[in-house]
Protein backbone atom coordinates (compact mmCIF):
# COMPACT_ATOMS: atom_id res chain seq x y z
CA UNK A 1 0.00 0.00 0.00
CA UNK A 2 2.81 2.36 0.93
CA UNK A 3 4.40 1.54 -2.38
CA UNK A 4 1.33 2.66 -4.29
CA UNK A 5 1.19 5.90 -2.28
CA UNK A 6 4.77 6.76 -3.07
CA UNK A 7 4.23 5.98 -6.72
CA UNK A 8 1.30 8.41 -6.82
CA UNK A 9 3.37 11.05 -5.10
CA UNK A 10 6.15 10.68 -7.63
CA UNK A 11 3.68 11.06 -10.48
CA UNK A 12 2.16 14.15 -8.84
CA UNK A 13 5.57 15.73 -8.29
CA UNK A 14 6.50 15.13 -11.90
CA UNK A 15 3.30 16.77 -13.06
CA UNK A 16 4.06 19.76 -10.85
CA UNK A 17 7.53 19.91 -12.30
CA UNK A 18 6.08 20.13 -15.80
CA UNK A 19 3.82 23.01 -14.77
CA UNK A 20 6.50 25.03 -13.03
CA UNK A 21 8.89 24.45 -15.89
CA UNK A 22 6.34 25.73 -18.37
CA UNK A 23 5.69 28.79 -16.20
CA UNK A 24 9.40 29.39 -15.96
CA UNK A 25 9.71 29.35 -19.73
CA UNK A 26 6.75 31.69 -20.18
CA UNK A 27 8.13 34.11 -17.59
CA UNK A 28 11.52 34.03 -19.24
CA UNK A 29 10.04 35.18 -22.53
CA UNK A 30 7.95 37.89 -20.87
CA UNK A 31 10.91 38.98 -18.80
CA UNK A 32 13.05 39.44 -21.87
CA UNK A 33 10.34 41.54 -23.49
CA UNK A 34 9.79 43.81 -20.52
CA UNK A 35 13.49 44.12 -19.83
CA UNK A 36 13.96 45.35 -23.37
CA UNK A 37 11.11 47.81 -22.96
CA UNK A 38 12.52 49.04 -19.64
CA UNK A 39 15.93 49.51 -21.18
CA UNK A 40 14.53 51.18 -24.29
CA UNK A 41 12.69 53.74 -22.16
CA UNK A 42 15.78 54.70 -20.23
CA UNK A 43 17.41 57.18 -22.62
CA UNK A 44 14.22 59.23 -22.73
CA UNK A 45 13.69 59.31 -19.01
CA UNK A 46 17.31 60.17 -18.51
CA UNK A 47 17.33 62.96 -21.05
CA UNK A 48 14.11 64.45 -19.69
CA UNK A 49 15.40 64.36 -16.14
CA UNK A 50 18.68 65.79 -17.24
CA UNK A 51 17.04 68.79 -18.88
CA UNK A 52 14.97 69.31 -15.78
CA UNK A 53 17.89 69.11 -13.40
CA UNK A 54 19.81 71.58 -15.52
CA UNK A 55 16.90 73.95 -15.72
CA UNK A 56 16.46 73.74 -12.01
CA UNK A 57 19.76 75.54 -11.58
CA UNK A 58 18.02 78.57 -13.04
CA UNK A 59 15.66 78.71 -10.04
CA UNK A 60 12.51 78.47 -12.15
CA UNK A 61 11.95 74.92 -10.98
CA UNK A 62 11.56 75.94 -7.37
CA UNK A 63 8.85 78.36 -8.40
CA UNK A 64 6.87 75.82 -10.36
CA UNK A 65 3.68 74.74 -8.55
CA UNK A 66 4.64 71.07 -8.84
CA UNK A 67 7.84 71.62 -6.92
CA UNK A 68 6.50 73.76 -4.09
CA UNK A 69 7.34 72.22 -0.75
CA UNK A 70 4.45 72.29 1.70
CA UNK A 71 5.23 73.29 5.22
CA UNK A 72 2.84 70.84 6.74
CA UNK A 73 2.10 67.49 5.15
CA UNK A 74 -1.49 66.64 5.97
CA UNK A 75 -2.60 64.39 3.14
CA UNK A 76 -0.51 61.95 1.17
CA UNK A 77 -1.19 59.98 -1.98
CA UNK A 78 0.54 56.63 -2.22
CA UNK A 79 0.89 54.85 -5.54
CA UNK A 80 1.64 51.16 -5.02
CA UNK A 81 2.77 49.20 -8.05
CA UNK A 82 2.43 45.48 -7.41
CA UNK A 83 1.58 42.52 -9.59
CA UNK A 84 -1.89 41.07 -9.99
CA UNK A 85 -0.75 37.50 -9.66
CA UNK A 86 1.37 35.73 -7.11
CA UNK A 87 3.92 32.94 -7.43
CA UNK A 88 6.67 35.49 -7.71
CA UNK A 89 8.59 34.92 -4.53
CA UNK A 90 8.94 37.81 -2.10
CA UNK A 91 8.29 40.42 -4.79
CA UNK A 92 5.04 41.87 -3.48
CA UNK A 93 5.55 41.34 0.23
CA UNK A 94 8.88 43.16 0.09
CA UNK A 95 7.32 46.02 -1.82
CA UNK A 96 4.34 46.36 0.49
CA UNK A 97 6.64 46.50 3.47
CA UNK A 98 8.51 49.41 1.94
CA UNK A 99 5.26 51.13 0.98
CA UNK A 100 3.89 50.85 4.51
CA UNK A 101 7.11 52.25 5.92
CA UNK A 102 6.92 55.19 3.54
CA UNK A 103 3.53 56.29 4.86
CA UNK A 104 4.14 55.24 8.46
CA UNK A 105 4.59 58.84 9.72
CA UNK A 106 1.07 59.77 8.60
CA UNK A 107 -2.23 58.63 10.09
CA UNK A 108 -4.22 56.13 8.04
CA UNK A 109 -6.98 58.60 7.24
CA UNK A 110 -4.46 60.96 5.66
CA UNK A 111 -3.28 58.38 3.14
CA UNK A 112 -5.04 57.84 -0.17
CA UNK A 113 -3.87 54.71 -1.94
CA UNK A 114 -3.69 54.42 -5.71
CA UNK A 115 -3.23 50.70 -6.18
CA UNK A 116 -1.78 49.56 -9.45
CA UNK A 117 -2.06 45.79 -9.21
CA UNK A 118 -4.38 43.58 -7.17
CA UNK A 119 -1.93 42.49 -4.48
CA UNK A 120 -1.39 46.00 -3.22
CA UNK A 121 -5.07 46.81 -3.44
CA UNK A 122 -6.03 43.75 -1.38
CA UNK A 123 -3.43 44.47 1.26
CA UNK A 124 -4.31 48.11 1.83
CA UNK A 125 -8.05 47.57 1.57
CA UNK A 126 -7.88 44.85 4.24
CA UNK A 127 -6.05 47.17 6.59
CA UNK A 128 -8.56 49.96 6.31
CA UNK A 129 -6.72 52.36 4.07
CA UNK A 130 -8.73 54.45 1.69
CA UNK A 131 -8.34 53.10 -1.84
CA UNK A 132 -8.69 56.08 -4.08
CA UNK A 133 -8.29 54.21 -7.34
CA UNK A 134 -7.27 50.74 -8.33
CA UNK A 135 -5.96 49.49 -11.62
CA UNK A 136 -5.55 46.00 -12.96
CA UNK A 137 -2.03 44.97 -13.68
CA UNK A 138 -2.75 41.98 -15.89
CA UNK A 139 -1.54 43.02 -19.32
CA UNK A 140 2.04 42.29 -20.21
CA UNK A 141 2.60 45.52 -22.03
CA UNK A 142 2.58 48.78 -20.14
CA UNK A 143 -0.42 50.99 -20.58
CA UNK A 144 0.95 54.46 -21.27
CA UNK A 145 -2.44 56.10 -21.50
CA UNK A 146 -3.38 54.93 -18.01
CA UNK A 147 -0.09 56.21 -16.64
CA UNK A 148 -0.49 59.59 -18.32
CA UNK A 149 -3.97 59.89 -16.93
CA UNK A 150 -2.87 58.88 -13.46
CA UNK A 151 -0.01 61.37 -13.55
CA UNK A 152 -2.30 64.17 -14.68
CA UNK A 153 -4.88 63.48 -11.99
CA UNK A 154 -2.18 63.26 -9.31
CA UNK A 155 -0.61 66.52 -10.46
CA UNK A 156 -3.99 68.25 -10.50
CA UNK A 157 -4.87 67.00 -7.05
CA UNK A 158 -1.47 68.11 -5.81
CA UNK A 159 -1.81 71.61 -7.22
CA UNK A 160 -5.36 71.86 -5.90
CA UNK A 161 -3.98 71.07 -2.46
CA UNK A 162 -5.76 67.77 -1.93
CA UNK A 163 -2.40 66.12 -1.38
CA UNK A 164 0.73 67.63 0.07
CA UNK A 165 2.96 64.84 -1.16
CA UNK A 166 2.78 61.98 -3.61
CA UNK A 167 4.78 58.83 -2.96
CA UNK A 168 5.32 55.89 -5.26
CA UNK A 169 6.39 52.41 -4.20
CA UNK A 170 7.74 50.19 -6.96
CA UNK A 171 10.28 47.49 -7.64
CA UNK A 172 13.44 48.86 -9.12
CA UNK A 173 14.77 46.34 -11.59
CA UNK A 174 18.52 45.94 -11.37
CA UNK A 175 19.15 42.54 -12.88
CA UNK A 176 17.35 39.25 -13.33
CA UNK A 177 18.27 38.20 -9.81
CA UNK A 178 18.04 41.53 -8.12
CA UNK A 179 15.19 43.93 -7.71
CA UNK A 180 15.04 46.56 -5.03
CA UNK A 181 11.67 47.55 -3.55
CA UNK A 182 11.84 51.32 -3.57
CA UNK A 183 9.61 54.08 -2.22
CA UNK A 184 10.07 57.48 -3.69
CA UNK A 185 8.50 60.87 -3.30
CA UNK A 186 7.30 61.91 -6.71
CA UNK A 187 5.69 65.26 -5.86
CA UNK A 188 6.75 67.89 -5.00
CA UNK A 189 9.70 67.59 -7.35
CA UNK A 190 12.98 68.17 -5.68
CA UNK A 191 16.45 68.25 -7.05
CA UNK A 192 18.02 65.53 -4.89
CA UNK A 193 15.07 63.21 -5.52
CA UNK A 194 15.35 63.76 -9.26
CA UNK A 195 19.06 63.13 -9.17
CA UNK A 196 18.47 59.89 -7.36
CA UNK A 197 15.93 58.83 -9.95
CA UNK A 198 18.31 59.60 -12.80
CA UNK A 199 21.08 57.68 -11.17
CA UNK A 200 18.85 54.69 -10.55
CA UNK A 201 17.73 54.69 -14.14
CA UNK A 202 21.20 54.19 -15.58
CA UNK A 203 21.94 50.47 -15.32
CA UNK A 204 25.20 49.39 -13.77
CA UNK A 205 26.36 47.66 -16.90
CA UNK A 206 25.08 46.68 -20.32
CA UNK A 207 23.74 48.53 -23.27
CA UNK A 208 22.88 51.89 -21.76
CA UNK A 209 25.36 52.11 -18.91
CA UNK A 210 27.55 54.51 -20.87
CA UNK A 211 24.99 57.23 -20.26
CA UNK A 212 26.25 57.60 -16.73
CA UNK A 213 27.85 61.01 -16.42
CA UNK A 214 25.52 63.87 -15.55
CA UNK A 215 27.39 66.86 -16.83
CA UNK A 216 26.10 70.28 -15.99
CA UNK A 217 25.97 73.26 -18.26
CA UNK A 218 26.02 76.55 -16.41
CA UNK A 219 24.00 78.87 -18.59
CA UNK A 220 21.01 78.27 -20.79
CA UNK A 221 18.99 80.33 -23.13
CA UNK A 222 15.45 79.14 -22.73
CA UNK A 223 12.99 79.74 -25.48
CA UNK A 224 10.21 80.85 -25.31
CA UNK A 225 10.50 81.15 -21.51
CA UNK A 226 11.64 79.04 -18.62
CA UNK A 227 8.19 78.71 -17.12
CA UNK A 228 6.69 77.58 -20.40
CA UNK A 229 9.26 74.89 -21.00
CA UNK A 230 8.90 73.76 -17.40
CA UNK A 231 5.14 73.88 -17.75
CA UNK A 232 5.34 71.23 -20.45
CA UNK A 233 8.24 69.33 -19.04
CA UNK A 234 7.19 68.98 -15.42
CA UNK A 235 3.82 67.24 -15.86
CA UNK A 236 5.33 65.11 -18.61
CA UNK A 237 8.13 64.18 -16.38
CA UNK A 238 5.69 62.97 -13.76
CA UNK A 239 4.08 60.76 -16.40
CA UNK A 240 7.44 59.52 -17.63
CA UNK A 241 8.59 58.78 -14.10
CA UNK A 242 5.43 56.78 -13.42
CA UNK A 243 5.63 54.98 -16.72
CA UNK A 244 9.18 54.12 -16.00
CA UNK A 245 8.49 52.83 -12.53
CA UNK A 246 5.76 50.63 -13.93
CA UNK A 247 8.13 49.26 -16.57
CA UNK A 248 10.73 48.51 -13.95
CA UNK A 249 8.14 46.82 -11.78
CA UNK A 250 7.00 44.66 -14.70
CA UNK A 251 10.52 43.60 -15.50
CA UNK A 252 11.09 42.83 -11.82
CA UNK A 253 7.85 40.87 -11.61
CA UNK A 254 8.64 38.60 -14.51
CA UNK A 255 12.21 38.10 -13.39
CA UNK A 256 11.08 37.27 -9.88
CA UNK A 257 8.50 34.83 -11.18
CA UNK A 258 11.00 33.18 -13.43
CA UNK A 259 13.45 32.76 -10.58
CA UNK A 260 10.71 31.50 -8.25
CA UNK A 261 9.57 28.98 -10.84
CA UNK A 262 13.09 27.88 -11.50
CA UNK A 263 13.55 27.22 -7.80
CA UNK A 264 10.28 25.32 -7.72
CA UNK A 265 11.30 23.22 -10.73
CA UNK A 266 14.66 22.41 -9.18
CA UNK A 267 13.02 21.54 -5.90
CA UNK A 268 10.41 19.29 -7.51
CA UNK A 269 13.15 17.41 -9.32
CA UNK A 270 14.92 16.91 -6.02
CA UNK A 271 11.74 15.71 -4.33
CA UNK A 272 11.01 13.30 -7.18
CA UNK A 273 14.53 11.87 -6.91
CA UNK A 274 14.19 11.42 -3.13
CA UNK A 275 10.81 9.77 -3.53
CA UNK A 276 12.13 7.41 -6.20
CA UNK A 277 14.95 6.46 -3.91
CA UNK A 278 12.48 5.77 -1.11
CA UNK A 279 10.28 3.78 -3.48
CA UNK A 280 13.17 1.58 -4.59
CA UNK A 281 14.24 0.98 -1.03
CA UNK A 282 10.78 -0.16 0.06
CA UNK A 283 10.36 -2.29 -3.04
CA UNK A 284 13.71 -3.98 -2.44
CA UNK A 285 12.80 -4.57 1.21
CA UNK A 286 9.53 -6.22 0.16
CA UNK A 287 11.32 -8.48 -2.36
CA UNK A 288 13.91 -9.50 0.20
CA UNK A 289 11.19 -10.30 2.69
CA UNK A 290 9.29 -12.42 0.19
CA UNK A 291 12.42 -14.32 -0.81
CA UNK A 292 13.31 -15.08 2.78
CA UNK A 293 9.74 -16.18 3.45
CA UNK A 294 9.86 -18.61 0.51
CA UNK A 295 13.24 -19.93 1.56
CA UNK A 296 12.02 -20.27 5.16
CA UNK A 297 8.89 -22.12 3.97
CA UNK A 298 10.89 -24.57 1.91
CA UNK A 299 13.24 -25.33 4.76
CA UNK A 300 10.31 -25.94 7.05
CA UNK A 301 8.82 -28.39 4.52
CA UNK A 302 12.14 -30.22 4.00
CA UNK A 303 12.70 -30.62 7.70
Amino acid sequence: MALKNIKNKIAATNRMHKVTRAMEAVSAVKMRKTQLAALAGRPYARAALQILTRLSGSSELSKHPLSMEREQVRAVALVVITSDRGLAGALNSGLIKVAVEAVAPYPKEAVAVYAYGKKGQEYFARRGYKIERSYENKADDVDRAAMDELAVSLAEAFIAGRYDAVMVAYNNFRSTFEHVPTARRMLPFSLPALRQLVEDIAPEHGKYSDLHALDSVPAYTVEPAGEEVLGILAPRLAAVALYHMLLESKAAEHSARMVAMKNASDKSKEVAADLTHEYNKIRQAAITREVSEIVGGREALAA
Binding site: Y44, V217, V222
Partner: protein
Protein backbone atom coordinates in the same frame (compact mmCIF):
# COMPACT_ATOMS: atom_id res chain seq x y z
CA UNK B 1 32.88 69.31 -41.08
CA UNK B 2 32.35 69.32 -37.36
CA UNK B 3 29.71 67.04 -36.00
CA UNK B 4 27.84 66.64 -32.73
CA UNK B 5 25.85 63.95 -31.01
CA UNK B 6 22.10 63.89 -31.51
CA UNK B 7 19.59 61.85 -29.55
CA UNK B 8 15.92 61.71 -30.50
CA UNK B 9 13.84 59.74 -28.05
CA UNK B 10 10.23 58.86 -27.52
CA UNK B 11 9.04 57.61 -24.16
CA UNK B 12 8.85 54.01 -25.26
CA UNK B 13 11.82 53.90 -27.60
CA UNK B 14 14.88 55.83 -28.70
CA UNK B 15 14.41 56.87 -32.35
CA UNK B 16 17.82 58.12 -33.26
CA UNK B 17 21.23 58.34 -31.70
CA UNK B 18 24.39 59.22 -33.53
CA UNK B 19 26.82 61.79 -34.88
CA UNK B 20 25.23 64.35 -37.15
CA UNK B 21 26.32 67.42 -39.09
CA UNK B 22 23.13 69.40 -38.62
CA UNK B 23 19.52 69.09 -37.58
CA UNK B 24 16.51 71.18 -38.56
CA UNK B 25 13.89 71.57 -35.84
CA UNK B 26 10.43 73.15 -35.83
CA UNK B 27 10.67 75.48 -32.84
CA UNK B 28 7.63 77.15 -31.40
CA UNK B 29 8.93 80.49 -32.59
CA UNK B 30 10.05 79.25 -35.98
CA UNK B 31 12.13 76.57 -37.63
CA UNK B 32 15.77 76.61 -36.64
CA UNK B 33 18.87 74.67 -37.53
CA UNK B 34 21.45 73.40 -35.08
CA UNK B 35 25.08 72.97 -36.05
CA UNK B 36 28.02 71.89 -33.96
CA UNK B 37 29.07 74.45 -31.37
CA UNK B 38 25.63 76.00 -31.06
CA UNK B 39 24.90 78.06 -27.99
CA UNK B 40 23.35 76.09 -25.15
CA UNK B 41 19.60 76.48 -25.04
CA UNK B 42 16.31 74.77 -24.47
CA UNK B 43 13.30 75.20 -26.70
CA UNK B 44 9.80 73.97 -27.05
CA UNK B 45 8.94 72.31 -30.35
CA UNK B 46 5.62 72.34 -32.13
CA UNK B 47 4.33 69.61 -34.42
CA UNK B 48 6.18 69.26 -37.68
CA UNK B 49 9.12 67.45 -39.09
CA UNK B 50 12.69 67.02 -37.96
CA UNK B 51 15.32 66.76 -40.66
CA UNK B 52 18.60 65.19 -39.65
CA UNK B 53 21.70 65.41 -41.81
CA UNK B 54 23.91 62.65 -40.52
CA UNK B 55 27.67 62.76 -40.58
CA UNK B 56 27.86 60.17 -43.34
CA UNK B 57 25.75 62.28 -45.69
CA UNK B 58 22.45 60.46 -45.15
CA UNK B 59 19.29 62.36 -44.34
CA UNK B 60 16.63 61.18 -41.90
CA UNK B 61 13.17 62.52 -41.23
CA UNK B 62 11.10 62.23 -38.07
CA UNK B 63 7.63 63.55 -37.40
CA UNK B 64 6.65 65.33 -34.25
CA UNK B 65 3.02 64.36 -33.73
CA UNK B 66 2.27 66.70 -30.88
CA UNK B 67 4.84 68.70 -29.02
CA UNK B 68 8.39 68.20 -27.98
CA UNK B 69 11.38 69.70 -26.32
CA UNK B 70 14.85 70.24 -27.69
CA UNK B 71 17.91 70.74 -25.56
CA UNK B 72 21.11 71.95 -27.14
CA UNK B 73 24.44 72.04 -25.39
CA UNK B 74 27.95 72.41 -26.76
CA UNK B 75 28.35 69.00 -28.38
CA UNK B 76 25.13 67.27 -27.59
CA UNK B 77 21.54 67.80 -28.69
CA UNK B 78 18.59 65.96 -27.26
CA UNK B 79 15.09 65.98 -28.71
CA UNK B 80 12.23 64.58 -26.69
CA UNK B 81 8.96 63.83 -28.43
Amino acid sequence: MRSFHLTIARVDEPLFSGEVASVLLPGKEGVFEVLAGHEAFVSELREGQIRVAAEDGKTYHFDIPDRGIAEVSSNQTTVLL
